[in-house]
Amino acid sequence: MAKSTNVIRIPKAPADAFNQHRPVSDLLWTQVEHLAAVVRREIDEERRAIRTEGQASAFIKKYTAFLHPQGASKKPAPSSRGAKQTSSSKSAKKKPTRSSKG
């Protein structure tokens, strides 16, 4: 930007203008309601799409983490068979060993 001879100073709001305790306006309240509606709809769509145990556990993990973020930050307990397993891995195709605790 070249030097302009037409300079306008930007006025500053005073520090005491900040007020997080101001009662919520209709506009912000509507925004809250809309977000809540969208999230409810999102959860419901996710819930209705669950067909498998894996999908169920992913859903459960996501919302348990939402309710209990401390738990989400911890590493999962080691697998009972010690090796990393996925549903598509060779070992997963073997007959699963049921936990004695069901």
Partner: protein
């Protein structure tokens, strides 16, 4: 085609919140009689029948509390006083409407207050240095979301309120139309605490269209600005991730007006500081609606938004609304180095040459700017005035265009 139009590559819209034309720019008429502002003699009757006069006493904060009514029935009272449509609005019910909220006669007079230009140098500086519209009206005599919808879609799909859940609507947003045509478009919201006001429809269904304000600043710097973008201010006082205080910059009462001034300056400077962008961008600064604050110009009739009609129950007035008249006038300023300094676009005060604009003028202008041909648009958008003709053949010298520091 003018040279200004030939150079046009980007259209940027910044939409602020809830201030009327007369409240923000009405005092400019004293310096420039072409601007259809306030003579100082405008009045509204108060609840005692006494005239409440316009006064240059607007404060930045703590004056319009409670938030003035701007829902459909409240605006109806503001426009018609104790009467109602049909007919030309009298603009005599603003003080009565505000009195209803606090039952305090003296306080109700504050709805007539306006800013002296020196108190808001950014907005008034832009108005005097570029093009100010005498006849830009909110699209609907109602609140925020139905009006913002008209900027995004060219219609509110029959809504006059705040609950806009669009399902199976017939028209695409201007952003989707742009992308469909191989163009780029984006909505930049301030941050995640402020978010977008388009959460239910666009953010939910088209998240790829969104970015944060810091992305806007970076995109301006790195020549990555999309062909069309819409900027949303910060809607709440909140702390950033580091605990710093972020003031709401939307100018919605009772947010501090100077925080909005700084935000407008920030958007302008981001474009102005990049010479490539500056010569190829048309910036529009406007407001979604008047926020219940006085303006003296009666909103005109307009093309009905067929087939939509809001029911008597939906309007809350006992009378249906066919989207055949506009809402209250708001500030609107078009900014580009290709616009001659001190341009005033006449409105209804000039019966021969006056032009009427509304928020559907935004998608209509963007369509024209990027030569999109989509006939599947609302009647309101198809009929809306566009403003590309403001771009002239002459680019102003750099030192003639203001900088904000």
């Amino acid at each position: 085609m003018t040279k200004g139009l030939d150079n046009l590559k980007h259209v940027v819209v910044l939409m602020m919140e809830n201030r009327s034309f007369d409240h923000m720019l009405g005092a400019l008429m004293q310096a420039d009689p072409r601007i259809n502002g306030l003579t100082g003699n405008e009045t509204n009757p108060d609840s005692n029948g006494q005239p409440a006069r316009v006064e240059p006493l607007a404060l930045y904060q703590s004056q319009l509390d409670p938030d003035p009514d701007h829902h459909f029935p409240g605006v109806n009272l503001q426009l018609y006083g104790n009467g109602g449509p049909p007919g030309v609005p009298t603009m005599q019910g603003f003080v009565k409407s505000y009195f209803e909220q606090r039952r305090d006669v003296n306080h109700s007079h504050k709805i007539m207050y306006y800013f002296p230009p020196a108190k808001i140098p950014i907005l008034t500086g832009l108005a005097r240095n570029y093009a100010v519209f005498n006849g830009w009206f909110s699209s609907i005599p109602g609140p925020t979301l139905c009006n913002r919808a008209c900027a995004h879609y060219g219609t509110s799909f029959g809504q006059v309120g705040m609950n806009l859940f669009y399902l199976n609507v017939p028209y695409l947003s201007i952003y989707e139309r742009m992308v469909k045509a191989g163009r780029t478009a984006k909505l930049y919201y301030f941050d995640q605490q402020s978010s977008s006001l388009e959460v239910v429809n666009l953010l939910k269904n088209q998240p790829r269209l969104f970015g944060l304000y810091e992305d806007f600043l970076a995109d301006c710097k790195k020549n990555r600005l999309p062909d069309y973008c819409f900027v949303e201010p910060n809607y709440s006082d909140h702390e950033d991730d580091g605990g710093g205080e972020l003031l709401a910059s939307d100018q919605h009462p009772d947010h501090h007006v100077l925080a909005g001034e700084a935000f407008i300056a920030s958007v302008y400077n981001a474009i102005r500081k990049n010479p490539n962008l500056w010569k190829s961008t048309l910036l529009l600064v406007t407001y979604d609606e008047h926020g219940g604050i006085y303006d003296h110009v009666p909103p005109p009739a307009c093309t009905p938004d067929t087939p939509y009609v809001a029911s008597a129950e939906a309007t809350g007035t006992g009378v249906p609304f066919a989207f055949d008249r506009l809402g209250v006038r708001v500030p609107a300023i078009a900014i580009s180095p290709w616009i001659p300094k001190g341009t005033v676009i006449a409105g209804s005060e000039d019966a021969a040459n006056g032009r009427v604009f509304e928020h559907a003028s935004i998608p209509a202008t963007v369509m024209q700017a990027f030569q999109l041909n989509d006939e599947n648009r609302s009647p309101r958008e198809k009929a809306a005035s566009t403003f590309l003709d403001l771009l002239s053949d002459q680019m102003r010298p750099d030192n003639d265009c203001p900088v904000f520091k």
